[in-house]
Amino acid sequence: MSISRDSVVARLNEVGLREIAERLAQGVNTIQSRAGGLFITKNFQSLDELEKGWGDTQNLVAASVQTNLEKLGLEPDLTWDIYLILMCPDVIPDALRLEIEYDKFCCKKYVVQEIAGTPFEESVTEEVPLLCEWATLESADALHPGVNRTAILQRLTTGIDTALAHAMTSLPDFESATAESLVDRLIEEQAQ
């Protein structure tokens, strides 16, 4: 499910919340629903702007979106699943990040530093757990390419050109033969 800012603004106008719709149209860039949550993003131009404006933004979300889910044609349960993502191009101090991200009013907030050249999706995915990608894990068989005897022996003896290494890889009874008999055999072979 995905909704755009324009559709929300239109819907707000339809239900008579024109003032909020206007503010929303001016301030909030994108409204997006993904993975079961309602994600609202807001770009700030500077750290100062973020510091001063993040409170107003969450108030706007609370007033315009969170309390009007049904009017907006969204599931009421989404009230638990609203995420506000605050984008800023500057380095964000730990104290401010903690203040914003640990604020429990309205919804869960994330502060994301916009880095030039990094796609929006990538930056956000790095920071927001619900947006994490785990599907690639399923193809992790390549992690353990060799767990059988042949692979192990090949790996163990690679680059070791000795009689013992040859015996390990070539003697079919290497593992079952007694060490005593193997030693006798190797000594006699090498002493020739």
């Binding site: 638990w80 994490c132 992690l143 767990v147 005897r149 163990l156 000795t162």
Partner: protein, 834 residues
């Protein structure tokens, strides 16, 4: 949420869990909705949430990891069976999405009920992928990748040693197969070393054998042909007829021994003959000397006798002179007898006969001595007498005082008795005055004391004076006793000495008279006189002086006896030599110089002949020995050559052993290196996932980055080290010793989920998280829930999560929405489904 369009999963998800009489449950079935990925277990503590996970763990592995460390304690009480249930079997049944199922029943036991139970099918055969079967242990791996309990993961993060953690990770990564060959390689290395040591011992023995053989070889090569020709010449045979050398050596040794004896005998004979020849003239001189010595001995013997006679004459003369002197004073003996009699009759003489132990006799005789001694004794007797009187006076006075004291006590007792018997009398019968009995008695006692006190005082003073005098006189008496006793003892000694002297003089006088009488009688008997003795003295003296053996001034018997004995010893020695010499002459028939010459020539010829034979024998011995040594050396050289060949073969074997040992080391190092490389590679991969989870769970304000690395600095074991660091990487800490419980919990969940999501060993797709969010704050919980949501969105993982926190439960229920199935634990072992 299962992605649309996927094929049915090959992995196993839990479809139901049934328990019977297990832990708090009686009979309970948890039927799992296959359409939902999250199973939420909610209820108060103690209602059975953890037991639900116990059922899964024990059902699959037969063990409960958290009880593995307390073998004794867990066997003392019931652990698995529901202690409140009626008798009946206890079991757990797990069913999986692919139709697999297993049932594990608690096995009755005499001690507790904790055991692996009996299982109808071995889950490891289908839960572990075939290629991993020999690489992982189901119980160990399950507890690291599928079951998250606070105890286990905290222990893994905080308590487990780095080396043990490394071993666990290696096993989990399926890398233990690379180390599986190490025990075999170690055994091969050990066996190889034993072989090598054995070969070195053998080599050492052979080298010692070579050294022994080389030392037994001759020092130089010889010309065998020349030696054999020489030997044949000596043995007077042809060279090719030479007998066996061993036989020759044996024979020549015997002959040589016999020849040595003959040679010694011949040399002895030659020496004796030479001795006879050398002493032929001297022998005559010896005979002459013997004659002279015999004369000297006899003369000295004669002088000895003469000196003895001379001494007799002079003794007689001396006695005669003493007797004459005695005769000139015939009253000597009589006067001595008289003097002795007088002495014995004198006080001193009598004193000498007294016993010093008898004091009375000694004092009596002391008095008889008169003078100062008598005066002293008299004073002593007076003193004794006065002392006795004083002692009697003192005794008398004491008796009187005692009587007076007794009288006083009697009077007082009498008065007391009277008063005691007449206590009713309160008035005096005569004067009618008032009487106080105790007062009267006290007055009576005072009066008696005052009347008698002066008497007691005076007499006591007198008695003290008397006792002082007695003591003084006793001291004087003791002193005088000692003086008198000493005087008398000295007198006694002198008297005895005088008596002894007189008696000795009397005895001497009597003996002299008797000897003189005896000599006179003897002379009379011989009808001779002292003049004859004098003449005899003169004649003997002249005879002595005229002797050729006389030494001027020496006229004692002892002098000539000594000279006689010395000459006698010289004579005997000389006679012995002469006898020995004569025996040699007789033995070798050397009665004349002619015979001596002939015999000397013959003996010398025999000796020369024997020496020649000996030289030839020695030459044969030498040649035989040299030839035999050469023969022995040839054989030894061949043996040494063989030994050297064997040593070369042993050296090759030793070299082979060293190479095999090196190979073992190289392969073991390779296994460690490969494991290390693989672990690092896999950790890098797993670490990315763990890091991703850790960052999203928002654990630490400043130490927001994790790093996992293998520390291979220890030669024996590698270490698996966690580190947390800040974004710059400059500040690094060990989380085990820095993080709070909540932060450690976040780290533990990150590690667990990171490994669980990427593990490859198992087909089981269910993860069990027992109260994973304890200690977390709201923001952590929010992140955790979102992570779970994103995981189930992208994978087919099935999560079982428990919590006791109602607020968290409600939050998760809202967040998981329609993808969650809820089991509500409403009481002890009681569960309702929502």
């Amino acid at each position: 949420m299962i992605p649309e369009g996927d094929e049915p999963m090959a992995e196993h998800r839990i479809s139901s869990i049934e328990v019977c009489n297990f832990r708090p449950f009686d009979e309970q079935e948890f039927l799992i909705d296959p359409e939902r990925n999250i199973v939420l277990l909610y209820g108060n503590n103690g209602f059975g949430k953890t037991s639900f996970f116990d059922a899964v763990e024990w059902g699959l592995t037969g063990k409960l990891a958290r009880y593995e460390g307390a073998a004794r304690e867990r066997n003392e009480y019931g652990v698995l069976k529901n202690q409140f249930a009626n008798d009946g079997d206890s079991w757990v049944r797990l069913a999986f999405s692919q139709g697999r199922a297993l049932k594990r029943s608690v096995r009755p036991s005499g001690h507790g009920d904790y055991n692996e139970g009996t299982v109808d099918t071995d889950p490891s055969t289908w839960l572990i992928k075939p290629e991993w079967t020999s690489l992982v242990d189901l119980q160990e791996a399950f507890n690291l990748t599928h079951l998250l309990t606070q105890e286990q993961v905290n222990r893994f993060v905080r308590s487990t040693k780095d080396t043990d953690r490394y071993a666990a990770i290696v096993s989990l990564f399926g890398l233990s197969g690379y180390e599986a060959y190490n025990p075999k390689l170690e055994e091969i290395r050990r066996q190889t070393r034993q072989r090598k040591e054995q070969f070195e011992r053998e080599k050492n023995q052979k080298e010692q054998g070579i050294a022994r053989k080389e030392s037994s070889m001759g020092s130089a090569d010889i010309d065998v042909r020349a030696k054999r020709t020489e030997l044949a010449g000596l043995l007077e045979v042809e060279t090719d007829e030479l007998p066996d050398l061993q036989e020759v050596q044996r024979h020549i040794q015997q002959a040589s021994q016999k020849l040595v004896q003959e040679l010694e005998a011949a040399e002895g004979k030659n020496r004796e003959i030479a001795y006879v020849a050398q002493n032929w003239v001297a022998c005559e001189k010896n005979n002459q000397r013997i004659g002279e010595l015999r004369g000297f001995v006899e003369e000295n013997q004669r002088l000895t006798n003469a000196c003895q006679n001379l001494a007799g004459c002079r003794w007689v003369r001396s006695v005669q002179q003493d007797y004459a002197a005695h005769q000139a004073n015939p009253e000597l003996a009589t006067s001595l007898v008289t003097e002795l009699s007088k002495f014995l009759a004198s006080p001193q003489g009598l004193l000498s006969q007294c016993d010093p132990e008898n004091e009375a006799r000694m004092l009596e005789f002391g008095m008889s001595l008169g003078g100062g001694i008598a005066e002293s004794i008299r004073s002593l007797i007076d003193l004794r007498k006065r002392l006795g009187e004083l002692t009697e006076d003192a005794q008398r006075l004491e008796t009187m005082l005692t009587a007076q004291s007794d009288l006083e006590r009697r009077l007082i007792r009498l008065a007391r008795d009277f008063i005691a018997e007449n206590t009713q009398i309160t008035q005096c019968p005569v004067c009618k005055s008032r009487i106080e009995s105790s007062q009267v008695l006290q007055e009576l006692e005072d009066r008696i004391h005052s009347d008698s006190s002066s008497f007691f005082r005076e007499n006591a003073e007198k008695l003290r004076s008397l006792k002082g005098q007695i003591l003084d006189r006793r001291q004087k008496k003791q002193s005088m006793d000692q003086q008198v006793q000493q005087i008398l003892l000295d007198q006694h000694k002198q008297a005895i000495a005088s008596k002894v002297s007189l008696e000795e003089r009397l005895v001497t006088a009597k003996q002299l008279a008797a000897t003189g009488e005896s000599v006179k009688g003897w002379l009379d008997h011989l009808n001779t006189s002292i003049s004859v003795i004098d003449q005899l003295d003169q004649r003997i003296t002249a005879d002595i002086h005229s002797s050729g053996a006389y030494v001027e001034g020496q006229e004692t018997k002892e002098f000539y006896e000594t000279r006689r004995d010395q000459l006698q010893a010289e004579l005997l020695s000389l006679q012995k030599n002469v006898v020995s010499y004569n025996e040699l002459k007789t033995r070798h028939k050397l009665s004349s110089p002619e015979e001596l010459r002939k015999t000397t020539e013959q003996a010398a010829a025999v000796l020369t002949h024997l020496k020649n034979r000996k030289a030839r024998t020695d030459a044969v011995t030498r040649l035989t020995t040299e030839l035999l040594q050469d023969d022995h050396d040839s054989r030894t050289r061949a043996e040494i050559a063989n030994l050297k060949q064997e040593i070369i073969a042993l050296d090759k074997r030793i070299g082979a052993c060293e190479k095999i040992e090196n190979d073992c080391g190289e392969l073991r190092a390779a296994s460690r290196r490969v494991v290390e490389e693989e672990t690092n590679r896999l950790l890098d991969e797993y670490g990315k996932t763990i890091q991703k989870l850790y960052v999203h769970l928002n654990p630490h304000v400043r130490l927001g980055r994790l790093e996992f690395r293998i520390d291979a600095s220890n030669r024996a074991n590698n270490r698996f080290v966690f580190e947390a660091h800040d974004p710059t990487g400059q500040v690094r800490v060990n989380p085990s010793y820095t993080f709070s419980s909540a932060q450690t919990n976040v780290l533990a969940i990150s590690v667990f989920l990171g490994i669980a999501l990427r593990q490859q060993w198992s087909n089981m797709n269910a993860l069990f998280l027992d109260d994973p969010i304890q200690n977390m704050d709201d923001i952590n919980v929010h992140s955790f829930v979102d992570i779970i949501r994103s995981v189930v969105r992208d994978t087919d993982k099935q999560f079982f999560i428990s919590t006791h926190d109602e607020r968290v439960f409600e939050f998760m229920r809202r967040k998981f929405r329609d993808n969650v199935q809820i089991f509500h634990f409403t009481g002890y072992g009681k569960v309702t489904h929502e």
